[in-house]
């Protein structure tokens, strides 16, 4: 038994049939081929699968694809400009060595973006609080925090 859903992902509309139990992250990765969104824990606790649903950061490993019916999703693949120019956060993660293995990075960037939008002058403590739902095992968060600060300050 499959359900028909209509989802806009990165500005493009997809009409698909999915099993009701299909996780949003598996829908994005396996049906749409958008493999930038990663799976780390399947329990909402590592944040590697963070995407935006109707402008809110959500963890795609604990959302069903059917819940996204009618919604607008943005994944890491939809963040850079059409000309390939990096989003300020992507640029800052590169400039500040905010990633090592890169596996948590898409989720980290998607989680940080709403913060810098809402609060460009966020303090280090506020940035750390905002990222507490996202795990990174490589960087000790030090350079991630610097990257978010840099992006918030307009890249300098």
């Amino acid at each position: 038994m499959k359900e028909a859903i209509s989802v806009e992902v990165n500005g493009r509309r997809y009409e698909r049939e999915v099993e009701p139990r299909t996780l949003l992250v598996h829908f994005l990765r396996e049906q749409l081929g958008l493999t930038g969104t990663n799976v780390g824990c399947e329990t909402s606790l590592c944040g590697a699968c963070t995407v935006w649903m109707d402008g809110l950061a959500v963890k795609a490993c604990t959302q069903l694809a059917v819940q996204a019916d009618g919604a607008s999703i943005t994944t890491i693949e939809g963040l850079a400009g059409e000309d390939g120019s990096l989003h300020p956060l992507q640029q800052a993660f590169w400039d500040e060595h905010g990633l090592q293995c890169g596996y948590c990075t898409p989720g980290m960037v998607m989680a940080a973006a709403p913060l810098i939008e809402a609060k460009p002058d966020a303090s280090e403590a506020e940035i750390r609080q905002a990222l507490k739902g996202n795990l990174c095992r490589c960087t000790g968060y030090h350079n991630i925090v610097r990257a978010v600060k840099r992006a918030a300050a307009g890249g300098s």
């Binding site: 493999t35 329990t43 963040l79 850079a80 293995c101 280090e124």
Partner: protein, 781 residues
């Protein structure tokens, strides 16, 4: 290119990774792909009376269900072997699929292959295994006691090996003559390695091409070798192992596990590509864990505050089976490091490796060296207290003096270089040590949160080598590294390295090494790694070896290339090769301005071969296998500052100062990143992480609901500095840095908390409950 070494060049790896275009194993697919789900034992110890696969085989989408019977029928080795043999060690076989007995929760008993991931998982739940549960044994030391359940019939008393090092008599005499002795029992808590990317494997097989495995590997050649020798028995040249982007390893992706071999055998059996991706719970249950030592340690100190002896008896849990390098970890990576930065005239260490009904234990970031450093640096604080000295002064008094190198320790290692006092001084100054002590005294007088300051002066022995020595100690592999450098006709170059990165940025740093030596732009150099079909045999990335061993192999190949190119240039310049030098991208005749040939024309001539010295072969590439003369010995001093809530026992790490010496730095930005990550890993062990099994053998912290990892809001920004003492025996003067933070941090943090609270010891992790109990027991005493 001038200035390229030591330059914080941004990583070329990153543009793909920040945009979601990096391809990790689970991102890959293949035409006709099927999915595997592995059926695992829910019991820590049980006899398998029967396996009924009929319902699973009939489930929707199921292609095949395999058990140990299929492995036997295929006539393949079907085991994962241990790669480090100690004298007298018991090595019970570790079958990839269990047939008669399961020995830990997560032990694989069957595998289902189906059309989709979900169908495979559904059908795996339909495999009916008839278990007869047996009593389990889970404690590293207790498992060797009388009456403990026996795990392997060939290992009575659950003892895998007994090992010792040092001079017991001399050490006994040192303790008999000591002015002060201290004794401490400490537990080094079991850790999950926890790479955020779970292990995964995509296996494709056809009879002509053989087997191709894309997998989460830190060492593809080693995985290929062990697949060939023990698991699958396919010829080595018929297996290709590729590590695409790898989402962290921390040791867990060194080891050879049943799961990837099972996936491979599924592909061979069903004739279609098969993908297996570990769930997080599977990862927690089956990735080789780290640490799990119980140690009784003693220190002898004379009346002048000099350490005269150190003794340690350790029980090290090996888990249910001996994993790939497991026996080396508590022995040659732990026992040999017990001299720390100190001139200790007598040391003895005894280690009992024990079987437990738990996941196997093997190298996890630091591997043996965090355990050793925890013993030494905890004892140094207790020794300082016994001697009535400040911990910094006590350490200083016992350092191996700067003029004593090379220094032969009492536990086998010969430190090639070191200069410990400047790193200590820098760390104390950066931390404001005297001011912190004054603030601590003020708070003790006035009340409020308790302030603690903890030091850790660590040494790390990494880039383990040379091969002949490690072979004599039990290694079943060499520990050299290979590199091919291929210069293309137009002067650009490709490096093929056996050091397969999983986040360390080798593509950037190795290009810097080449650009520096060839005088070209870094963009003119590509680095290829992680594919057994592309790269000569290689040993991989672990043990902080890549720059020191892998980088040196590249330098060796560059030297061969420059020697040949110089001969070609001399021939073109009609000069003696002895008179030709290479600088700024051109070959020049010394003392004859204007007579030169640019790099590009010499390289082109190597391929045109129209005008080469007589007898010279065309082409310009070189392959080298570099076997280091010794380990490298990075060191440093870290200072942790904590605040402890006297009411709740909650610990806040408020500052962390790290001064490290990894010799010359190729890319300081990457060095600092390694230190940051290493510190967080070590702080995690000290404060939060605990892979605890209950008495029945259930892992009680198998998901992130229960296993607490370092998170952004729990850590401060780190304060880093460094000293530079180049390694004298490798051509780059570099030493490892990937594990330093993880080695240094646990004792720094525990020393700080004990300092704050005023107790001798608290076991890791320092949960509020443990700290609170320690404070209460102190009040009661």
């Amino acid at each position: 290119m001038a200035g390229v070494m030591g330059s914080s060049i941004r990583r070329r790896e990153d543009p793909a990774l920040v945009t979601g275009r990096g391809k990790y194993t689970d991102d890959l697919t293949a035409p006709g792909l099927t999915h595997a789900a592995i059926v695992r034992s829910p019991h820590a110890h049980a006899r398998v009376r029967g396996i009924d696969t009929a319902a699973a085989a009939a489930a929707p989408g199921v292609v095949a269900v395999l058990t140990a019977a299929d492995v036997a029928e295929m006539g393949i080795g079907g085991v994962v072997p241990v790669g480090w043999l100690l004298p007298g060690m018991k090595t019970p076989a570790h079958p990839i699929l269990a047939s008669e007995t399961v020995r830990y929760v997560g032990d694989a008993v069957a595998v289902v292959v189906a059309e989709s991931r979900y169908q495979a998982q559904d059908a795996a739940e339909l495999v009916a295994v008839d278990y007869e549960p047996l009593p389990a044994s889970t404690d590293a030391a207790g498992t060797a006691a009388d009456g403990a359940p026996q795990i392997h019939s060939e290992a009575p008393g659950n003892v895998a090996f007994e090992w010792q090092l040092g001079d017991a008599e001399k050490t006994e005499a040192a303790f008999a003559a000591a002015a002060h002795t201290v004794e401490l029992e400490l537990r080094n808590n079991r850790m999950l390695p926890f790479a955020v990317e779970p292990r995964a494997c995509l296996a494709e097989y056809d009879a002509r091409q053989g087997l191709t495995l894309h997998m989460t590997s830190q060492n593809p050649h080693l995985h290929r070798l062990l697949m060939t020798l023990a698991s699958l028995n396919l010829p080595e040249h018929k297996i290709r192992v590729v590590a695409p982007e790898v989402g962290g390893g921390f040791g867990s992706k060194i080891h050879h596990y049943p799961d990837e071999a099972i996936t491979a055998l599924c592909a061979m059996k069903v004739g279609r590509p098969v993908k297996w991706t570990s769930t997080r719970t599977e990862a927690s249950l089956t990735d080789a864990h780290g640490r799990d030592h119980v140690t009784v340690a003693e220190l002898a100190v004379d009346g002048d505050g000099r350490v005269t002896g150190l003794r340690a008896r350790t029980h090290a849990a090996m888990g249910a089976y001996l994993s790939t390098f497991a026996p080396a970890v508590p022995t040659y990576l732990h026992g040999t490091l017990l001299s720390g930065q100190y001139d200790i005239p007598a040391i003895w260490v005894g280690v009992v490796g024990t079987f437990t009904n738990t996941a196997p234990v093997d190298a996890v970031r630091g591997a043996g060296r965090p355990e050793a450093t925890f013993v030494v640096e905890r004892l140094m604080d207790l020794g300082a207290a016994a001697a009535g000295l400040d911990p910094a002064e006590f350490r200083r008094r016992n350092f191996v003096p700067a003029d004593a190198f090379p220094y032969q320790t009492q536990v086998a290692l010969a430190y090639d270089s070191g200069n410990y006092e400047p790193a200590l001084d820098k760390a104390l100054e950066k931390a404001g040590y005297q001011e912190l002590r004054a603030e601590q005294a003020r708070r003790r007088a006035e009340g409020g949160k308790l302030l603690g300051i903890g030091l850790s002066s660590y040494i790390e022995a990494c880039g383990i080598a040379p091969s002949a020595v490690v072979g004599s100690l039990g290694a079943q592999a060499g520990l050299w590294e290979s590199a091919t450098v291929r210069v293309h006709p137009t002067g650009t170059a490709t490096v093929y390295t056996g050091s397969s990165a999983h986040g360390q940025g080798h593509e950037t740093t190795f290009a810097q090494i080449v650009a520096d030596r060839l005088g070209c732009d870094v963009e003119a150099v590509d680095v290829v790694h992680g594919d057994t079909r592309e790269v000569p045999f290689g040993m991989g990335t672990y043990g902080s070896r890549s720059a020191a061993v892998g980088g040196s192999a590249i330098v060796k190949s560059l030297e061969k290339i420059l020697a040949k190119a110089t001969q070609i240039a001399a021939h073109l310049l009609e000069a003696s090769a002895d008179d030709v030098e290479f600088a700024d991208g051109e070959f020049r005749v010394r003392g004859t301005p204007g007579r030169s040939e640019p790099w590009g024309s010499v390289v082109l001539q190597a391929y045109l071969a129209h005008n080469l010295p007589e007898g010279m072969e065309p082409g310009l590439e070189a392959t080298s296998f570099y076997d280091p003369a010794n380990f490298t010995y990075p060191f440093g001093t870290h200072v942790a500052v904590v605040e402890v809530d006297p009411e709740t026992g909650e610990v806040e790490l408020t500052r962390y100062v790290a001064v490290d010496d990894c010799g010359n730095q190729i890319n300081p930005m990457i060095v600092e990143g390694q230190v940051h990550g290493g510190i967080a890993y070590g702080v995690g062990q000290a404060l939060w992480e605990d892979a605890t099994y209950d008495a029945s053998g259930q892992l009680v912290a198998a998901t992130l609901m229960d296993y607490a990892l370092p998170r952004a809001h729990k850590l401060p920004s780190f304060e880093l500095d460094h000293t530079v003492t180049p390694c004298p025996h490798n051509p780059l003067g570099v030493k490892g840095i990937g594990e330093a933070g993880t080695i240094a941090a646990p004792p720094a943090v525990v020393n700080a908390v004990c300092d704050a609270v005023g107790v001798r010891h608290i076991d890791m992790p320092l949960t509020p409950e443990r700290v609170w109990r320690a404070m209460r027991s102190k009040e009661g005493s």
